[in-house]
């Protein structure tokens, strides 16, 4: 497992007490690695040292819904969408 993902997961499980799952989908043709999503949803997104987007966890539960929605909202390239 990616160690950066496990690092995050130890603090806040992406599925904390939830049955409800959602998925974030990245349009890699549009993503430009600005990192706006990582500001809003650091549990889900991070940038690599080469400024490429890393998706730490693409499926998660209700607990991360608000930060995932905020990440979608502020993506200047409109490269993200949520699937319920």
């Amino acid at each position: 497992m990616d160690h950066s993902a496990s690092n995050m997961a130890s603090r806040e499980s992406p599925f904390a007490g939830e049955d409800f799952r959602m998925k974030v989908v990245v349009d890699w043709a549009l993503c430009d690695g600005n990192g706006a999503c990582a500001l809003e949803a650091p549990t889900i997104f991070e940038l690599s040292d080469d400024d490429e987007l890393i998706v730490l966890t693409d499926e998660f539960g209700e607990a991360l819904r608000d930060q995932a929605a905020a990440a979608v909202r502020v993506c200047p390239k409109r490269a993200l969408r949520l699937e319920m």
Binding site: A36, L47, D51
Partner: protein, 407 residues
């Protein structure tokens, strides 16, 4: 109790985000979104980039949203011409009057400044979809030369797009590109990028006239030089769209004057390019014309409106760390925070990546802003830090850590 109808004036990025936030916060009443343009909300950043180059059309600029979630009545192509803020009433060009007892969100944006000669064929501004489509058509029908008047970010992006189309371009700026925002040294660095990409950059020179009979033939500079032009693009800033509010009862002064929570009057909030509010984080009374601010301020304003009757959280001040980006020649430019009134710019070299730029802006003893080129991960770290209003020393320390070679 059901809240009365809410009107959003401005079918823009800000208007759309305000509407979506009202629904997320549980507003179930009638929602009207009105716009002067005939289109549903679309994205403006591509208008000076992909649309100019012709790689995108209208469809790619449309902002995606769920109509069933928004449940809006659209009033498009019918500009609002008057507001009675005390009565919550908006009058439209068609003569229709609407009452919005639930409140009004104003997001009417800004319009490009026009100079003499803009009426000539071949002279373009860039604000709307139609502007951008017309510019692309002009560029597709010429081998140049193109003259871009104004070295702000719209002008720079258009110049870069023209170079990608292989057209000869001259960029004219009375100061240096974006100097008022970024300072002399960074502005000259930007000028250097344009020059290396083949743009004839003319700094410190004013435009005397756009010349032509019916169709543009050239741009005359104040020093007498005539630059031949098959196409000219004017990007000399914008003015907030507030003329329709003259009799509204709102306070107007370079935009709609709001309080620190984005409230302009009881039951009236404003967001986006048109809103001027005191950002307590920086002690500044400003408008912010950035894409990111249109989204965030709209969300904040929507919550603020609902807070009036207690149906959302308490009215909080809007204190963003502004964020701006621009894409040119495949480079990613980002500005975080406020460079307004900065006392010092510290440009930091990265021995490992000389093409990367990182510039820190000091005001007093605080780090107030960071500008970078191709430096997204570091800027993300600074963006998180700027939320805590760091001291200058803290900022320099962080920069040293970020720039240190990996152990």
């Amino acid at each position: 109790m059901t809240r009365g109808a809410i009107g959003i004036i401005g079918a823009s990025l800000a208007g759309l985000n305000a509407g979506l936030e009202l629904r997320r916060q549980g507003f179930a009443g009638r929602l009207v979104i009105a716009g002067d343009e005939p289109h549903k909300p679309y994205d403006r950043p591509p208008l000076s980039k992909e649309m100019v180059r012709g790689t995108w059309g209208h469809d790619e600029t449309k902002l995606a949203f769920d109509e069933d979630e928004l449940r809006a009545e659209w009033r498009l192509g019918d500009p609002a011409v008057a507001l009675d803020a005390a009565a919550g009433e908006v009058t439209f060009a068609s003569g229709v009057r609407e009452q919005f007892p639930g409140g009004i969100v104003i997001a009417t944006g800004a319009a490009p400044r026009i100079i003499a000669g803009c009426e000539l064929r071949g002279v373009h501004i860039v604000r709307t979809l139609e502007d951008s489509t017309a510019l692309h058509a002009s560029l597709a029908a010429t081998t140049g030369p193109v003259v871009v008047i104004g070295g702000g970010f719209v002008g720079q992006e258009v110049a870069a797009s023209c170079r990608e189309l292989g057209l000869p371009v001259t960029l004219i700026e009375v100061a240096a590109p974006a100097r008022h925002a970024l300072g002399e040294e960074v502005a000259m660095h930007l000028a250097g990028i344009h020059r290396r990409n083949g743009v004839d950059v003319r700094l410190g020179v004013a435009v005397a006239a756009i010349e032509g009979e019916g169709t543009v033939t050239g741009v005359r500079l104040a020093d007498g030089t005539l630059l031949p032009a098959a196409v000219a693009v004017v990007g000399v800033g914008v003015t907030p769209n507030v003329d329709w509010l003259a009799e509204s009862g709102l306070t107007l002064d370079n935009g709609i004057v709001c309080d620190e929570t984005c409230l302009a009057a009881p039951g009236v909030v404003a967001a986006g390019d048109v809103a001027r509010w005191p950002n307590q984080r920086y002690g500044e009374m400003r408008r912010v014309e950035h894409w990111d601010n249109a989204v965030r301020q709209a969300v904040h304003a929507a919550r603020r409106l609902l807070a009036e009757d207690g149906s959302a959280e308490a009215a909080l001040p809007y204190t963003p760390v502004p964020w701006f980006w621009s894409d040119q020649y495949g480079l990613k430019l980002q500005l975080i925070g406020s460079t307004f009134g900065h006392d010092e710019v510290r440009i930091l070299a990265d021995p490992a990546k000389p093409d990367r730029v990182l510039a820190l802006y000091r005001r007093g003893d605080r780090l107030n802003a960071v500008f970078g080129i191709n430096n997204a991960k570091r800027l993300l770290a600074f963006r998180r830090m700027l939320e805590d209003n760091p001291s200058w020393d803290t900022g320099l320390g962080e920069a040293a850590l970020l720039l240190a070679p990996a152990a």
